[in-house]
């Protein structure tokens, strides 16, 4: 089922509908998903349980006891037709402190040899951009970030590590990201954040949402330790800028 504005509404059984805004990964399409989620949050449609934002689609889970798939799609068509891109004028950027010291940057040598750049250049490039969080997934709070500078694209490790500690910052192919909790993985590790991006005890267990931005801010080992102390005690809050 396609709308005249190119939006597709796909059946996912009797409990979910996928609203697809396009077929590529770009910030403009992703922004529409944020706009629709915000719209649904501010004026909910009865029967919707929750939704999962992804690169170019929003999966909407609903209770078929409260609304039928057809009438949900009807309502969503109306909503999407008059969607304002309210999200675009407010950009929320999370400033994530990262220590790029050798102790944590286990694979920065690989990034150097692959890119032909020095460590300092890599750090400058990596921390010099605001990355859009296209979606969260794979692990709770694992951000799929867009915007990595192609000069530091680096293939994954040939043999993945069996355990990567929580907070590790790495590069995997064309992507960069933060491991929210310890997990196996094949990304090239270039630093670590003392901030807990995932904390099941916190009211919002995950620090950020799809549609927000992340900026990595280099910190010294001393600052890393200071921030970590506060973060572990639950008294550190990440700096957030709205622009």
């Amino acid at each position: 089922m396609e709308n005249k504005n190119g939006i597709r509404f796909l059946y996912c059984g009797d409990t979910a509908v996928s609203v697809e805004f396009g077929n590529e990964i770009n910030a403009e399409i992703n922004n529409k998903i944020k706009s629709l989620s915000m719209d649904l949050a501010s004026s909910p449609i009865k029967g919707i349980i929750e939704y999962i934002p992804a690169y170019r689609s929003l999966l909407i889970n609903y209770d078929p006891g409260l609304i039928s798939g057809e009438s949900l799609i009807k309502k969503l068509k109306k909503r999407t037709a008059s969607l304002k891109s309210a999200a675009r004028d407010k950009k929320t950027v999370f400033l994530i402190p990262v220590c790029y010291d050798d102790e944590f940057a286990l694979d920065i040598g690989n990034v150097c040899s692959h890119s032909g750049l020095s460590k300092d250049e890599i750090i400058k490039i990596h921390s010099g951009t605001d990355y859009l969080i296209y979606m969260l997934g794979f692990l709770p709070g694992f951000p799929y970030l867009g915007g990595l500078d192609e000069r530091i694209f680096t293939p994954r490790l040939e043999t993945p590590r069996t355990i990567i500690p929580a907070g590790s910052v790495g590069i995997g192919g064309k992507q960069t990201g933060i491991y929210p909790l310890a997990s196996p993985g094949g990304w090239q590790l270039i630093g670590k954040t003392p901030v807990k991006t995932y904390d099941p005890e916190r009211e919002a267990p995950i620090l950020f949402s799809a549609g927000d931005y992340i900026r990595f801010c280099p910190v010294s080992k001393t600052d890393f330790e200071l921030i970590k102390k506060d973060a572990d005690a639950g008294s550190y809050s990440c700096e957030i800028i709205k622009e």
């Binding site: 796909l10 996912c12 009797d14 409990t15 996928s18 939704y51 969260l136 794979f138 694992f142 909790l181």
Partner: protein, 315 residues
Amino acid sequence: MGLKITSAGLLTTIQDTGRFGYMASGFSQSGAMDKDSCLIANKLVFNNDLEGVLEMTLNGVSGVFTEDCVIALTGADLRWTVNDAEVRRYKALEIKKGDVIKSAASRDGMRGYLAVAGGFDINPVMGSYSTNLKCGIGGFNGQKIKNGDILPFRHERNQLLPVYKGLEDIPVFSKNTPVSIRVVLGPQEDFFSKKGIDTFLNSVYTVTTDSDRMGIRLEGEKIESVNGVDIISDGIALGSVQIPSSGKPIIMMADRQTVGGYAKIATVISADIPLLAQAMPNTQIIFEAVSLKDAQKIYKKHRNHLNLIDYRLMF
């Protein structure tokens, strides 16, 4: 105190109807694989429908009760005994302090459930009692049940009320073979050739041993795609039939990841998810396509059937 576990079984966790509201952040939904059996277990002991129950896989638990209580057993036939006497499933059972409960390998069905009147005395995490093993949260200390664990009860009720009744119709999961599983085609059926969709709907698939709470993996004829199965990752609904590059379907279940990059040819309707949860390895499956309208009718019928259980237990 509560139930002291002497034999924990293969994979035993506390589950409820699932963890809602956190999938946008990447948390799996979790929850009982067979939500019907979980719900009925709670209803049999007059619990809230949202209470946590024990989910046991292929093998049940054995243990000693350290206090009087009322329990109910549903789902797979795990050859339950109390003090070495066989006990019925789908019926509230009065248990005395010191009673020994035992179970063994399943005779029928994949997952058994044990509910205790008043529930287990555990704290919800992010709104749910369900165990999420990947994150180590929920359930009993975020972990699977081990030998020696003592599962505490809230013990609000320890006497068999006169209204406690059993259900006569005990399900037999392996009765029909192959099991017919109804699906609504989509969201990405257009990624598959006509031949691929014919294969999907007209051949017999077999549940493999590497199926788990994340997904039921099937063996059978390869499903032909038009031009590969890679999509731009999108959200995964419960029951999505994902076709990876091997061409062999994987049905995404309770512990599925929230997003994924393989095309999904169809989605199993909600009423048939419990049948999949109870399908033992080597169970044969055939898929039957239904329209969304029909799926909705089936959902309503199924829900009414479950709602009626409350009345059947009382009158």
